[in-house]
Symmetry: C2
Subunit: 722 residues, 2 copies
């Protein structure tokens, strides 16, 4: 996406001048008189605010933690100040301005004397809220509300409000909190955006400079440095999509405000349009409207969050990219801004084009080389049900700081609108006081972050980097192969620092097979150790177990935890088996489809079934299911698996199709640098996937398999078996 044209600088004296500029207002005033989705959004907001205006203003003394009454009331208040402000701009009805001003005055009266919040969080407490992060969010909304009523307020009112509220809160968030303000972190972005936007409205250019370049204006901190460091060149934010969408909000709001006031900074073009890339990447990191739940992530979050509504709306205003309208339609929320009007009118005019979800490697880290999140998709441009396409999310990213999970080379698989091979996400019930005040639950650390909660190798029942974030932050995997063509997407990554003395390489491919509508996933996990250790390779599946080729020895009359630490203490061991056939198959049903994971049986391999819930006295965890392939004492091992999507279960129409795996053979061998996976599905030709994960694109390879010679150039090939 590229930026089309550059806005003119706003009149230096005109208000509003942030996300909505004075020049937007006349068209918006006109649009609310005409039928359309903009008018509908206006009417909905007006009716909501009108009903809120019935109630007396309530600005309680801060008392409660997140989710508690005073916390929520102050959140309601900042939204109302913002919303009443924009309604005043649109309708010129003074009751909205009067209400917003009265609230601002109320805060101006209380704020100067507020001590730190009584339920303050350990780090960076706020005054209105338990953490200064919420305080910055408060300011971002409230300064917009003030900007809307600035011209209407009397000089005396402005003095009261600025001196009582905006100057002290800006000071509190900047010079009084240098450790947050100058931090290269999303908390820093909120603080700099809040203070910078306040500077723009109050005409405090110094604050804007500090917001952009750090308290000392050297550029070692501040918004521009955050733009440099917080996103990879592909627009990936190292904490993952859940925090990416959260981090996005202050970025786009402040950048839009800067664009309105100081277009000469060309802020949206900065670093090869990094902000537009970040917005687009946030969309890309979703399946069926929900974000990939890697790292600490609440699973219900998706593209309809207000942060991405702002992101998409502002991006459309800059680019007129018609695919963004597809996303905006799914968001189904029209912003009452100038860009919101553009989006609404374009959607009403039927201009939306289907958004294309890509198979893509999203590099992590400032240079994009600290590993990557690899997304491989199939059938995503299907005409009838694109939301049901297949997606592999291969997590070869860096640690992702404090919210990162210990899950190097983890993967998730989606199909049919469901997360079929799953990631636990975060153990948290946001804003639910009964659940540890809505914080991350202790099981987030003891389970959700641990390696065993993911679909990747656990050595000796210990998590990657011994579960130490600091250590994790120092290392990242190397993605040595990623490519996508019409028949397959493939990626390979390597890391030898997650465990001392153990090197891990994983190669995954999403492969279309002749004669089948649905692709298969090939998964090869190479482990090389310097001595014998226990290896566990878990797969967390959503659905109901249908069948296994191995005979299960189930624990029917008593359950015990699988282990004692690193997440194992939370797993009940429900069954064990010793696979004896060459292929060990596990089939489960999710919604109306069957899934079979077939794994080449290795000597001494055990198959364990688990369910989450042990050592969870408060029932904080979901009861999720997994199976684990275990080798007690292993050194060099290659786990080779193939996941099939098959059949249909239709109890309503009373038929079941292809409930059994169609995989007849799966074999694996290596020759020099080349790994060879051969597989045969019933009704399809025998295939070979050959790949040289460390190879070069221009290289030529050859290998023999079952007496036949094969050759290929580049890092991989999908071949018919001869």
């Amino acid at each position: 996406m590229s930026v089309q044209g550059v806005a003119k600088a706003a009149d230096n004296n005109a208000h509003p001048r942030l996300v909505v500029s004075a020049s937007d207002v006349p068209q918006m005033q006109k649009a609310i008189e005409q039928a359309g989705s903009f008018q509908q959004a206006f009417t909905a907001l007006k009716s909501q605010v009108d009903s809120q205006l019935q109630h007396a203003i309530n600005i309680p003394v801060p008392n409660d933690a997140g989710g508690g009454f005073t916390h929520e009331q102050h959140k309601r208040n900042y939204r109302l100040m913002h919303d009443a402000g924009i309604l005043f701009q649109l309708t010129q009805d003074k009751k909205y301005a009067d209400h917003a001003i009265a609230m601002l005055e109320g805060y101006a009266k209380m704020y100067p004397d507020l001590p730190l919040h009584p339920k303050q969080k350990e780090q960076a407490p706020g005054r209105l809220f338990w953490q200064s992060l919420n305080e910055a969010v408060f300011l971002v909304y409230t300064i917009q509300g003030y900007d809307f009523v600035y011209d209407y307020a009397s000089k005396a009112q402005r003095e009261t409000i600025e001196n009582g509220l905006f100057r002290p809160i800006a000071k509190f968030l900047s010079s009084d909190s240098p450790q947050t303000f100058d931090k290269i972190h999303n908390h820093g972005t909120w603080a700099t955006a809040a203070v910078g936007m306040t500077g723009l409205v109050l005409g405090e250019d110094e604050w804007v400079e500090q917001a952009l370049y750090g308290l000392d204006k050297s550029g070692t901190g501040g918004f521009m440095r955050q733009l440099d460091e917080l996103f990879s060149p592909q627009g990936y934010y190292t904490e993952g999509p859940y925090y990416q969408r959260y981090a996005l909000m202050p970025f786009v709001l402040f950048a839009k405000s800067v664009e309105v006031n100081q277009p000469e900074r060309k802020i949206f073009e900065y670093r090869d349009s990094i902000l537009l890339k970040a917005i687009d990447t946030t969309i890309q990191l979703s399946y069926d409207r929900l974000f990939f739940p890697i790292n600490d992530a609440i699973k219900d979050k998706g593209i309809d969050t207000v942060e991405l509504v702002y992101g998409v709306t502002i991006a459309y205003g800059l680019t007129n990219n018609a695919q963004l309208l597809d996303i905006a339609k799914q968001q189904d929320q029209v912003l009452l801004t100038g860009d919101g009007l553009n989006v609404a009118q374009a959607i009403d005019a039927g201009k939306a084009q289907p958004y294309h979800f890509a198979s893509k490697e999203f590099g992590d880290g400032q240079d994009g080389k600290q590993g990557a999140l690899v997304v491989m998709r199939a059938n995503q441009d299907d005409k009838t049900a694109p939301e049901k396409h297949q997606a592999v999310v291969f997590k070869a990213t860096a640690q992702g700081m404090g919210h990162g999970h210990f899950d190097k080379l983890n993967w998730i698989f989606y199909d049919n609108g469901h997360e079929v091979v799953s990631d636990y996400g975060a153990a948290r019930f946001l804003n639910v006081e009964a659940k540890y005040g809505g914080h991350y639950l202790k099981e987030n650390k003891s389970y959700a972050k641990q390696t065993i909660a993911h679909n990747t190798l656990v050595v000796a029942e210990r998590s990657h980097f011994k579960g130490n974030t600091k250590r994790g932050n120092q290392y990242s995997p190397e993605v040595t192969l990623f490519d996508t063509d019409e028949n397959l997407s493939i990626s390979s990554a390597f890391i030898d620092t997650a465990y001392k003395g153990v090197a891990m390489r994983r190669t995954q491919a999403l492969v279309s097979v002749e004669g089948r509508d649905l692709p298969v996933v090939i998964d090869v996990f190479n482990v090389r150790g310097d001595k014998k250790r226990q290896y566990d390779l878990p797969l967390h599946f959503n659905g109901h177990l249908m069948d296994t080729t191995a005979t299960l020895k189930s624990n029917t009359t008593s359950l015990a935890p699988l282990g004692s630490r690193d997440g194992y203490q939370h797993l009940w061991l429900t069954a064990e088996a010793k696979p004896e056939q060459p292929l060990s198959k596990v089939t489960w049903l999710n919604d109306d489809r069957f899934y079979t994971m077939s794994t080449k049986t290795l000597d001494g391999m055990k198959l364990l079934f688990t369910r989450t819930g042990a050592n969870d006295p408060d029932f904080n965890l979901r009861e999720d299911k997994a199976f684990i392939y275990r080798l007690d004492k292993a050194k060099d091992v290659d786990f080779v698996s193939l996941l099939e999507v098959h059949g249909e279960y239709n109890p309503s129409k009373e038929f079941t199709l292809e409930a059994h795996s169609q995989l007849e053979g799966l074999d694996y061998t290596t020759e020099g640098d080349v790994q060879v996976v051969s597989f045969k599905l019933q009704g399809s030709p025998a295939m070979i996937l050959a790949f040289a994960p460390e190879g070069k694109t221009e290289q030529e390879y050859q290998f023999s398999y079952q007496g036949q010679q094969y050759k290929f150039s580049g890092q991989y090939a999908l071949l018919s078996q001869q």
Copy 2:
């Protein structure tokens, strides 16, 4: 609903003459030339059949059980014979007729020599299929297919087909299987419908008479007797809605066929239009399109099943009731019949009216007095989201024969589109061979049918009627109270035969409370015993446990089954508590809402939490959760509870509202015949629900509560506390 007009008798020589009559055909032929949903349905079927016609005819020798290849192939075949037949009628394209005739000839060639099916079920085996029930279904479809091509077939072809297939199969299903044919049971209905419809096409009046009045034509068996006995006067079928919709199919198809050929029988008016009532009741016994999963029921079944599509379509043809069009729209399947054309055109013309789901007592048994299924609803006519309304299903029915569960006075609660207080339904994966061939699993008997799998009282860890169906069939509860008004629905039922020496009465009410959008459920369970026994009152909930007022002692490091038999062996005991506060509250989250069940704490009461899954070596059961109030040694006990629906959990928009119960007090007392429940919710006035479950409508009652005198007339009153 009443029958509008009476069709004229079909021409005695005209074909088709069953569900589609010769007089329907010209309009249908016209309709496929005009744009509309009838044409769309035609085009869809045509394209599907055209693709099937590419394949060679395959009539395999019967070999497989349900879900296996030959089973499914014969099912595909009977559908294709039917579908090709109707396409021939609509298009006059001979290829369809030729294909149907070739298939009929194929079956005619094979059938006479077929022995009983190799995988025959214990009772009533078939020849083409493992059970004769499937054979009757085969005949119902196939005779319609034949009827469509009858005029086109040569005399020789007709002789071959009738002598090779229809005469032997009709004989097999009637005189060779008297125990099924004359049985007053849905298997009997399929058999009589199949044979009767065949009689109508072949001109065998004797078969029609036998189908209607039994093999000996005495009326002790046969279709009319089934109409007399299988439905209650309210149109309730004793096995419950899952089997009701299944049973419906042969009833409506045969009745429609009789109506076409012998309108003078006025079969749809028979027994006060019992068939129309049965169709309507089937719709009523659903929530958000899915049937109430009482007794043996697969939970995915709902109003879009083909049986109910036929039922609704034929009922609309008779009544022109515009509310049926609402259901037809939700079914989204247009039948290629004369009635289907009426429905399609009426929907296309926008004639549909919102279907009204009622609060209603559906009497069970031939006389409607063998207990009842009571349905109580609130907000079901809401304009914006009627599908999210609240519904209490109070199961005070008779046993319901072999598929009945041991769950006297059980209940289910729905809200927000979800089954919140749940019934396990059946333990079965229909047609999934890996799951015991798609049969009912053994856990269906050992768990799903047992009392503890339901939300009703278990005495001494034994199921009602000691889990003996024969005994269960002898008794039923008495519903002594049901009423509904704008503020509440209430019902009370009594049974003293489920356990020897224990009388149980349950009263439930769905009550609107001033100041709240969402109703509460009041639940009073009176138990009177002749000696001390253990009482368990379970509640199976869907969702994630949020909070309890009692301090949980959780089993964090080992789990054991709660008991050893009657379903208890399948429950892991996950936690225990001893409620000490006057009200014991359990709060859980389902989707975006909170639910709190508050129960008056009784002396010695224990609270147990369980999860399904013990003694389930093949992972056949879902992992469902329940809590159980237990009294170790009790005689006369009143369990008094109130269920609140409250708040909103919105992690996407990051707010949580009213996550805590608002119930401040719940009290219970009796005075003579009057039971008094008082309750107070925060922000609402204190209320009293008084009821005399054995009282009379015209009676006057008075009682004193907290020093105040109250009086009311009738069986119940909802009063403000003074």
